[in-house]
Symmetry: C2
Subunit: 318 residues, 2 copies
């Protein structure tokens, strides 16, 4: 196998900012990515929380180029590249590999429901064969509440056997610890990493040999999540986990993506961040105020968040 340094620790499915015409805003995205990197959080751009499937393949290719052109390190990137069609997935994955991305996070094709593992195996195998690059590292993306199509343990086993090294890990966003634990016990190795899909399972995952986590709320709480990942053997680890859970719980009371964007808009004094592409809808004013009160009540801060003037953090009253 070609040597590729595995990407580990905490990653964020980076939220995608849009301008007033609902075009992706590369400058705000770059600034947010820099802030995440400064907090030791890697860039799982084009994840579910990035509204990746609300972007065309051409838009995602362009944004990836923008990030690389801005000097952000591809070694810290794991872009989502799984689309419903093999041709789209191959195009985006090939582009990510050529840019030197550490890996790609790949959804199963998610339009047809009730498809069999044989069909999913053929899908991933076809993508791997067509990309045809030994630098390819695929992290399978299991998120049944949204994709509805599952990445089963049997499918992982079969793909790992056929493509060891290239099948480099899995993100488990099932929210089911028993499933994450089974993945850890069966597959975690030097060349296969299991990432829980939420920091809720960060400590438990690390204690079972896991690689870190890929979590929506790493968009807003990156520093503390990354600190637990790097100090999980310290005596205060359980307290750290409890503090992370408290922040997560506040966000989880709302639709996640609009809530993340509302917080970034508020703490960065940059209302443009609230914009979402349909079918997602921003939080209403009352919800927004309630969210901010909930965050203030637990002393939440977003230290160093780039604000509307470029680089200062400010926290304004609503």
């Amino acid at each position: 196998m070609t040597e590729v340094v595995p990407i580990r620790g905490v990653l964020s499915p980076v939220v995608t900012p849009f301008d007033a015409n609902l075009q992706a805003d590369a400058q705000r995205l770059i600034a947010h990515c820099r802030w995440l990197l400064a907090n030791d959080v890697g860039l799982a751009v084009f994840g579910t929380n990035s509204e990746a499937n609300s972007l065309s393949v051409a838009e995602k290719r362009g944004l990836l180029d923008d990030l690389a052109d801005a000097g952000l390190p591809p070694s810290r990137m794991m872009p989502g590249s799984g689309c419903c069609s093999i041709t789209d997935s191959v195009e985006l994955t090939t582009h990510a590999v050529k840019l030197g991305c550490a890996g790609v996070l790949m959804l199963p094709p998610f339009y047809y429901k009730g498809v069999c593992d044989e069909g999913l195996y053929r899908y991933f195998a076809e993508v791997i064969e067509r990309v045809g690059d030994q630098r390819l590292r695929i992290y399978l993306y299991h998120i049944p509440p949204v994709a509805q199509v599952r990445i089963s343990l049997n499918l992982i086993e079969r793909l790992l056997t056929a493509y060891p090294g290239i099948i480099a890990g899995v993100k488990d966003s099932s929210g089911d610890w028993d499933n994450t634990r089974a993945m850890l016990e069966q597959f975690q190795s030097a060349t296969f990493d299991v990432f829980p899909g939420s920091e809720t399972f960060l400590l438990a995952g690390l204690r079972h040999g896991g690689a870190g986590c890929i979590s929506a709320t790493a968009n807003v709480n990156p520093g503390p999540i990354a600190r637990l990942a790097s100090t999980w053997e310290s005596v205060d680890a359980d307290d750290q986990q409890a503090a992370l859970n408290a922040v997560r719980a506040v966000f989880q009371a709302y639709v996640m993506i609009p809530a993340l964007k509302a917080a970034i808009a508020h703490y960065g004094s940059d209302p443009a961040w609230r914009a979402l592409r349909p079918p997602l809808v921003e939080l209403g004013r009352a919800e927004c105020e309630e969210l901010m009160r909930g965050l203030e009540a637990i002393g939440f801060v977003m230290a160093g968040l780039p604000g509307c003037d470029g680089m200062t953090m400010c926290k304004q009253p609503l």
Copy 2:
């Protein structure tokens, strides 16, 4: 409103043939479309049964050009153009309108689940505004078993109020007659057509003022389905419906798309037709034989189906 003759009667979500490299096979597609048109069945290319979401936007644009270049009438086409991203949907819809297609069949964005009608309304409104063409005719595509995201009666009402004429109809693939009847009673008009998503409800729909149907099995049984649509007031209409149901029942015992392709491959003596893009998988040999026995048992034929030699119909033993 710009004058566009509404497309009515029976349409088929035309199955997409693939070559040995899983590239779409334009020549076989054109031949199949000609056979459907000769049987008075319109072309809902890029539907669910067309594996539309297994094709990139560029592939669909190219195939639409191929059909038009072959002289097939756009006035008999209702291509599927609804993608997860607004940008993709706008690109494909704009292309269809420019070619003069009678309308487009539009899925809601189907990645995010549990989205609200406000978000779906904004999605369709944004597509309509961006396409910005008075010739646009959108047929909303309600297929909750697959898309999981619903087109509610309230959403139809709101869109119809905002965009009368442009919102031109709905395909109801819920399989729930009560829902289809509610759509017919509330919305069927001279400028809004309700198409049941299966010929199972063809006669019932027509008796309630419906426009016809858009059905997977019109790929294999076009003549008899179209005959009922044009003679539904005749005395043998219920007998015709029963005969259609018998054919449908045989196919419905299998995964529909591979079963349709297996039948076309068999009756046209053209095994290439069996190919599917992953994650779909062709029927196994035993299933295939069982399907053909089931069809022979009810005297099923595919008269005039273009075979592997171009234009003759032949029915070989397996």
